[in-house]
């Protein structure tokens, strides 16, 4: 018996291929998460590579000769890229009329502060100022080519193309080569921020087109998406607005604690969704249906209602046409965007119901 066992073992060792059985698919069934093609390393490691200051300034000169000199455009420090057309020829896209099913691009803005405006009936409204910071269209991917690995939760995604918009031009020598390569075909200087917007194919915009505040009209409604202020790990009083417990009258050690978090018996466990301490803020949030009360074309600023736009002052936000069904566009907006750069008239465009500070004092007529 022992002999046969030894033989068996010997045979086992001699088999040329030992196949271990795999019952699970293992790692293969994990979703294959590829990042979008424009998610590249942006910052370059800055090394002191002994370039003399003269050489450095010469490199700057070459960049400026090719792309344009630095300039202050609409209150934002950027580069004057009026010569872009000479660098790259972009094909014109036939403009199609706007329909209610069209989906326009959004823009990248900075939240620059908040102050009140008054309506003509004397009512005070709180507004937030959003400045559109040097936006240009970088790339358009048509619907048939746009196959994102991480599918956004948008209905009928396969009918939308992807428009890549960049904000705030910067010095290419501070960025990596592969990131700068994204802008090669557009003739634009590299942008600090890149955002993709889903657009319907008839709302596609030629590469290199600047997006300004005139993309929107006063009285329209917008959705503003931003990352909320990071508060860190917070207790229930700050995070969920719990009342806490009294400061005195025999209360010990439970002044800001949540108290009871559930019953006993059959439901004797912590139910999912119970409000507990945890990380607060630093999340993407959208405030929807905000009205545009006023627009300043000189500084690309719009005043939208509300003083609780997600994000800190001087933080980035994205502005979209609203998706709320009752506040969507009723008439055709500038479609696909406002191409006309030279706008006549005053810098400020006010909504009808808003009091212009240049107007006379509001008075009410007594009833007869």
């Amino acid at each position: 018996m022992i002999k046969s066992l030894i033989l068996d073992l010997g045979r086992l060792r001699l088999t040329p291929l030992a196949v271990t059985q795999v019952r699970e698919k293992g790692q293969l069934s994990r979703p294959h998460l590829r990042n979008p093609t424009w998610f590249l390393r942006k910052e370059r490691k800055m090394r002191d590579n002994h370039v003399t200051s003269e050489n450095k300034s010469f490199v700057q000169e070459i960049v400026q000769d090719k792309y344009g000199p630095p300039a202050l455009i609409k209150g934002v420090a950027t580069y004057d890229q009026s010569k872009r057309e000479e660098l790259v020829k972009t094909e014109k896209i036939e403009s199609e009329p706007w329909t209610t099913a069209s989906r326009r691009t959004g823009v990248i803005a900075r939240k620059i502060g908040q102050y009140p405006l008054w309506l003509k009936n004397g009512e005070r409204i709180r507004t937030t100022l959003l400045q559109i910071v040097d936006n240009h269209v970088v790339k358009y991917i048509p619907p048939e080519l746009y196959k994102p690995a991480q599918v956004p939760s948008v209905a009928k995604l396969n009918s939308y193309g992807c428009l890549l918009v960049g904000a705030e031009s910067c010095d290419p020598s501070t960025l990596t080569k592969e990131y700068c390569g994204l802008f090669k075909d557009s003739g634009l200087l590299p942008k600090k921020h890149l955002v993709r917007f889903l657009v319907s194919p008839n709302a596609a915009i030629p590469v290199g087109t600047p997006l300004n505040v005139t993309h929107f009209r006063v009285g329209d409604y917008v959705d503003v998406r931003g990352k909320t202020v990071d508060h860190g790990f917070q207790g229930v009083v700050k995070r969920h607005g719990f009342k806490g417990m009294p400061a005195s009258h025999g209360v010990t050690k439970t002044h800001r604690r949540p108290g009871n978090i559930g019953g006993g018996g059959e439901k004797g466990r912590v139910w999912p969704g119970t409000k507990l301490p945890g990380h607060m803020g630093n999340r993407w949030r959208i405030s929807k249906g905000l009205r545009i009360w006023r627009i300043n074309t000189k500084y690309n600023v719009m005043w939208v209602s509300g003083s609780a736009i997600p994000g800190s002052t001087n933080g980035l936000v994205y502005i979209y046409d609203t998706i709320l069904p009752l506040r969507k566009h009723k008439t055709a907006p500038p479609f696909p965007t406002m191409f006309d750069q030279t706008l006549e008239g005053p810098d400020d465009i006010w909504f009808d119901a808003v009091h212009n500070f240049k107007d006379e004092t509001i008075t009410f007529q007594p009833e007869e």
């Binding site: 370039v51 003269e54 050489n55 010469f58 000169e61 102050y115 600023v301 002052t313 001087n314 004092t361």
Partner: protein, 294 residues
Amino acid sequence: MMLAPSRLVTPSLLRQTVFTRVVTFSTKAAPKEKEQYSNKQTTNVAPTTYRFIYPEFLPDPKVEWRNPIREKLERLDMIDRRSQIDIPEFYVGSILAVTSSDPHAAGKVSRFVGICIQRERCGLRARFILRNVVDEQGVEVLYEMYDPTIQKIEVLRLEKRLDDHLLYLRDALPEYSTFDTNMEPEVMEDGAPVPVNDIQVRLRPRPWLERWERQNLKGVSNIDEYLTDKRRRTAKEHEKPWEKYDLMKQYRSTIPEEEQKEIYAEVYSQLHQMELQRKRNKRKRSFVKPTKLA
């Protein structure tokens, strides 16, 4: 010496200049020396008193909330509003009369006379509180300075008090905040310094709205009368005598002088024009043509 690979430094040039500094050339003409020193001097400089007369033109000193473009737009709006209504110089302790449109008042206009007990906030959010006693009942109205429903702001008596706010008038005897509604404006000479009224008010007995004994008030005479030993002791414990030496605290809560100058230089010409216009109007008002009788 290490040299960066540059297309301007040819090997032959490199050999020549290994131990000397490589001077590359520029294809452009040398930029002209900026004439900032000669030009900046001639810009109009606002008087230093402007920061007391127009304090709301200075932005909130909190760094996280500042943005130069927002502040500029806000100042433009303030100037636009000031071109419509004369917002005079006043301080905490001055007696004002504010006429405003009110949809609920009979005749749609209401006028309120009172003492300014607080002035706060900056920009378009600037506001002040007026207090008076009407029919033995203390009344306070909060006005926003740039509210377009305000029709007129008159200064009936221009003076300052000893404290930055007079909120303690709420706990003082009513005669200190009682003012005649039909008060005539007091005429002051041009360029005279604003007088400081060093009156000390008498408080009612406790309970008070705030712990006035902890606020180091100068305009109250009888605070000590109503204090118990315990309150006196706790007030002593809460004293912060070192705060006046806290330079960082002062720095964080104020706008630096250089920035103040920049801000007021921007709005000086418009504000100065408005001041001149106000003076002209005042002279017109003082001279009344005698009317012919019969």
